[in-house]
Amino acid sequence: MQTHPAKRVEIIIESPMERRLRAALEEADITGYTVLPVLGGSGRSGGWSREGQIGRAGGMVAVVCIVRADRVDGLLDAAFAVLERHIGVVSVTDCEVLRAERF
């Protein structure tokens, strides 16, 4: 099956910032992304878990965004503007996609 090269960007970000990240992505014309829930984790600021929490603070989400390689820089700039002062992790992986016309 015919596949096409692309990039998979994964942004793990604090829940209270999710809305701002989505807005920033849309402003940068990145309209395709998927948000996955996160149960817990650990980082330089210690461990945490969502269990029993009711506030937004103290939670994270993972935003997965598949883009054509030439759009990665725009995406990273947009994401970084939101993330800059915040905790969170961004990784970029090479991938192949079906139906390239969608990206």
């Binding site: 209270p16 878990s49 269990e51 506030g55 937004r56 002062r85």
Partner: protein, 333 residues
């Protein structure tokens, strides 16, 4: 004096407190007892809806008296003013950075709705009436403290904050104010208050089997969860908080309660209303304010403010504060 001890003891043996203690103990012992996030959120939606509705229905029943507006104004002022006091105390009592101190101060100006709910349920148990609109006062006290905190961070820490890209920018962040004023729990509390006012006794009769009868039991389950979360917080952040900060977290509610007491008397609230205003003043936020701080003051360390608010001040108010405030307000002390 006897009265306080009697109250404290009765309070200690209430299912509510013991449920909290159970959660706390379980988490400290590293039990894997947990409540799913969705269930905890569901319980909190129930509590907000119930307390809001009941407050509104009470206002519908007793009419709006002239103190209502004054109380709302007083609550707003308290919420905005208390952070300045808290900030000053933190600068003296702790070595927290300006940004951390400002963030903590914001928590103590705002309120904890579960603490309010617990106090209401103590009043109900003891047959003490209170103004239904205290729910609206609680709502009014949620947000102003956040502005005070941002202002403190921006004024007092220009260098620090600016270096970090900062506080000033944050305070002027588009959308933050709107986000705070429209945060879910505030909207639900105010909305159900208005629904209760609009539908009054008739509405109350229809849904009271859900929002009145099982209320205390649900509160127990919710406090079990609060205990679990607080215990986990204590375990993970034991070292995040110094002795000075701990002392602050116990002293501040007492001072705030005293200020709330004076304000309540000045407003001419009933004894129950005074107890609730003391409780609101004494309580510290652990939902709305932390979320706003993560957005606007990300440099502030959440381990500090969450530990103080949720793991120290909340249990302190629950176990010692509330019976004390009720005793004082009802002249029992």
């Amino acid at each position: 004096m006897d009265n306080i001890f009697a109250l404290a003891q009765e309070n200690l043996l209430s299912p509510i407190i013991l449920s909290f203690a159970l959660g706390l103990a379980a988490a400290l012992a590293r039990s894997d007892l947990t409540m799913p996030e969705a269930v905890a959120k569901g319980l909190s939606l129930y509590l907000l809806f119930a307390i809001g509705f009941k407050g509104g229905a009470a206002v519908a029943a007793h009419g709006v008296d002239t103190t209502l507006i004054l109380s709302l104004v007083a609550g707003t002022v308290l919420s905005f003013a208390l952070p300045f006091l808290a900030f000053a105390m933190l600068r003296v009592m702790t070595r927290l950075s300006t940004v951390d101190a400002a963030a903590v101060a914001g928590h103590y100006g705002s309120i904890s709705i579960v603490t309010f709910v617990a106090a209401s349920s103590v009043l109900t148990s003891q047959g003490i009436d209170s103004e239904g609109y205290m729910v609206a006062v609680a709502a009014a006290m949620e947000a102003p403290a956040i502005l005070a905190a941002l202002w403190l961070a921006a004024r007092r820490a220009p260098a620090e904050a600016l270096a970090a890209g900062g506080g000033v920018a944050a305070a002027s962040q588009p959308g933050l104010l709107r986000e705070v004023l429209l945060n879910g729990s505030l909207v639900l509390l105010v909305g159900s208050f208005l629904i209760g006012m609009a539908t009054g006794a008739e509405g109350m009769a229809e849904i009271s089997p859900l929002i009145t009868d099982p209320f205390k039991g649900v509160l127990c389950l919710f406090l079990l969860d609060m205990g679990l979360v607080a215990g986990r917080g204590l375990r993970e952040n034991r070292t995040a908080v110094a002795v000075g900060a701990l002392a602050f977290a116990v002293l501040m509610p007492l001072i705030s309660a005293a200020i709330g007491y004076g304000t309540g008397l000045a407003l001419g609230l009933s004894a129950g209303g005074v107890a609730l205003l003391m409780t609101l003043s004494a309580s510290a936020s652990y939902i709305a304010v932390p979320a706003a701080m993560r957005v606007a003051l990300p440099e502030a360390n959440p381990s500090v403010y969450l530990t103080l608010s949720l793991c120290v001040t909340f249990p302190f108010n629950l176990i010692i504060g509330i019976p004390l405030y009720v005793a004082i307000a009802t002249g029992g002390a």
